[in-house]
């Protein structure tokens, strides 16, 4: 009989929540094992290619639910490998939000002021930099000029991109080929590895059970490296502490599936999901009007025609990120790039008489693709997402070999959410249609429902046991020794990109996790210096 493998701290997922925990606990002396369901790619593994099976389909998942589809990372480094690296802090009012529960959703211990020191730490590590106008791409510049023309302000957003290395290729959703994007493969993860943390890709955790000594047994499947529908084996590891950081779309099914062995889960596990109130609009730019009205001109004589050029979102309008406005009236408007495929199917032909998202009128706007400008709206939703029963394995029923799957999330937008979307849509339209600059339509919800690239809140922190799954130390209520540090722990939509907030909350949670580990006999200390960045994304160590 083979003895069950043991570790001190088992971490599920290697995105922000997992990597930050892995570094601090390993640096503090604990034996750390990270199980990541996706592959481990780095540097030259990141393709410029839409071919199914390239890094583009390997490193992220698109899970269609009922009324909400979720895009999330699926690789070592998680969301940081596929995201667009926009890293603003959440505005103060977010921490005071009540949503629909009639009281503050965040724990009393957390507000912007108390979170700022943790934001500072992550910002130093990645690092987060402020762009100047020479870094701002044509798409961002056009959005800024249009905002200015309408009397609005617009800011270059803080980012985790090394401008010197960036080629403005706009392939960052497939992973950064040039190591310009400061993903976790360039800071927390290599630092964790140097302190002995072990990261195992293609290990998908299914459930937890309890050991006789008060620890946990983590049950996982090996996933085939090409066909993620195929399981090639399974195993178990015992740990004294478990940190779940599988992402807001994947952490709840693991806990739901564990209910049989661990006992009742808090009510908020798999509830209160937020899509960060997200919404996209496509503007078809009138090149002549942009030249005439905004006076924009590229060296090649074109006014714009630059949809393909850039590095994701670089400019945002924060005029409605305003604490004086009532809840559900606040939102940010950020210029964005979304690649073809996912970024085109939902765009609608303005003024279409026939179908707007497919057919001959849609084809005509595809021919104007170079003149598209995508505007990303982050509004306040109502945390109305609920996960149904978990699928047999993982977080979804996989359809394609990679990327595409069907999941158990249901999302029926409330009037508050619909109000926020409509307000933000109307404002983006007003800005970009002024003086004939563009024709603007929101992406349709008729195909895959609403959608989010920033799933949140499905296992959230809070002070109220009825509406939060975790206490303010990120420990799962009723299940000591299990912590959750990913986007599912964030209580609500933030009206800005959430990566830095997820990371800051993870940093903030670490002292408490270290303390819990020590209570469970793990020899670990807190206080290791912050990691320093490395120039190249860390590759999978040779076997």
């Amino acid at each position: 009989m083979t003895a069950t493998e043991k570790t001190d701290v088992l971490i599920v997922g290697s995105g922000f929540g997992g990597s930050i925990a892995a570094y601090h606990l390993a640096a503090g002396g604990a034996k750390v094992t990270v199980l990541e369901r996706g592959p481990w790619l780095s540097g030259k593994d990141f393709d410029h290619d839409y071919l199914l099976g390239s890094s583009y389909t390997k490193v992220f998942d698109f899970v269609a639910g009922d009324g909400m589809s979720v895009l999330g990372g699926n690789c070592v480094g998680g969301g940081s490998v596929v995201y667009f690296a926009a890293l603003p802090r959440a505005p103060r009012y977010v921490f005071e939000r009540h949503g629909s529960i009639g009281r503050r959703m965040w724990p009393a211990a957390i507000n912007r002021q108390t979170l700022d020191p943790w934001y500072d730490r992550v910002s130093d590590v990645l690092p987060v930099t402020q762009q100047d106008w020479n870094d701002v791409t044509y798409a961002g510049g056009l959005w800024a000029a249009a905002c200015d023309h309408s009397g609005h302000t617009a800011n270059p957003v803080p980012v985790g991109v090394d401008a010197k290395k960036c080629t403005n290729c706009n392939w960052m959703m497939a992973g950064c080929r040039f190591d310009a994007k400061q993903s976790l493969l360039m800071n927390y993860l290599p630092a964790a590895l140097s302190h002995g943390a072990e990261i195992r890709p293609l290990h998908e955790v299914q459930k937890l059970s309890r050991t006789d000594d008060g620890g946990y047994r983590v049950h996982y499947n090996h996933i085939d490296e090409e066909d993620y529908r195929v399981t090639t084996g399974s195993g178990e590891i015992e740990a004294k502490i478990v940190i779940l950081a599988a992402g807001a779309g994947a952490t709840p099914p693991i806990l739901q599936r564990s209910e049989e062995t661990l006992g009742t889960m808090p009510h908020a596990v798999g509830r209160y999901f937020s899509g960060n109130g997200e919404r996209l609009n496509t503007a078809i730019i009138n090149e002549e009007r942009v030249a005439e009205v905004l006076g924009l001109r590229r060296p090649n004589g074109k006014a714009y025609e630059a949809n393909q050029i850039g590095k994701g979102p670089v400019v945002a309008c924060w005029d409605y990120v305003d604490s004086a406005l009532p809840e559900y009236d606040r939102f940010s408007m950020e210029q964005l790039y979304f690649p073809p495929g996912l970024g085109t199917i939902l765009a609608q032909a303005p003024d279409a008489i026939g179908p707007s998202w497919f057919g001959k009128e849609k084809k005509e706007i595809l021919k104007q693709w170079k003149s598209w400008l995508t505007i990303f709206l982050m509004t306040e939703d109502d945390n109305e997402g609920v996960f149904g029963p978990p699928p047999p394995t993982g977080n979804s029923y996989r359809i394609s070999q990679q990327m595409l799957a069907r999941g158990p999330l249901r999302y029926d937008p409330t009037p508050n959410t619909l109000h926020g979307w409509a307000k933000a849509d109307a404002r983006a339209k007003e800005i970009l249609e002024k003086d004939g600059l563009a024709k603007v339509t929101p992406w349709t919800n008729d195909v895959v429902g609403a959608y989010t690239v920033h799933p949140l809140s499905s296992c959230r922190i809070g002070d109220d046991p009825a509406t939060s799954a975790l206490d303010d130390r990120h420990e799962l209520r009723g299940h000591p020794g299990i912590f959750v540090t990913d986007g599912s722990s964030v209580p609500c939509g933030l009206t800005v990109n959430p990566a830095l907030t997820i990371a800051a909350l993870a940093e903030r949670a670490i002292p408490g996790i270290v303390s819990a580990a020590r209570d469970r006999g793990v020899e670990v200390t807190y206080g290791a210096p912050l990691p320093t960045s490395v120039p190249n994304s860390v590759a999978r160590p040779a076997a």
Partner: protein, 189 residues
Amino acid sequence: MVATPDFLDDVQTMTLEAFADTIVPGAKRFPTDHAIAGVCDDPGAVEAGALELLGDPATGVAAGLAPLSAMLNQRADDYAERVGLTLEDDVPAFVALDYDHRAALILELVAWGNPERDGWVLLTMFSNMAYDSAAHRHTAEAIAEGHPGLLAMGFAEPDTDGLWRFADFSYGRVLAKRHPSTTESGSPE
């Protein structure tokens, strides 16, 4: 000439081509090309490789193509009867519909509440992807060979190493006022 899956018969192929042609319509490839509705004068999803993509095992829908094709023709028969159309019987029922009726039927099939919608949504998505991202081909090769969708969209050519770089990317000047409540870290207050 784009490849079509060899596990589909002519009726199935023609039916699925007609579906893809409704998503991104194209020009008829030859005078008796019934699958293509002929409402556009340049290539659409079919010439872009929709059937090749749908038949790719990576999509996970290949095994469903034959049954979806049969269902589509049944739904087309039902639709024709409901709206009072008499269909030519020398082609599959969906193919016998003109473009506007094909589009109207697809809107019904993908409507929320239709318990069969998932399969039709998948057909729609992959038909679209064949045209606008050529997901069945290496992107650089597809562009070099004149893929009709990427070409029509104006997708730029890569550098000689197959990677994209844009040295010309910025207007390089201040284009808006900064929000007055921006903090020192560059974030909102």
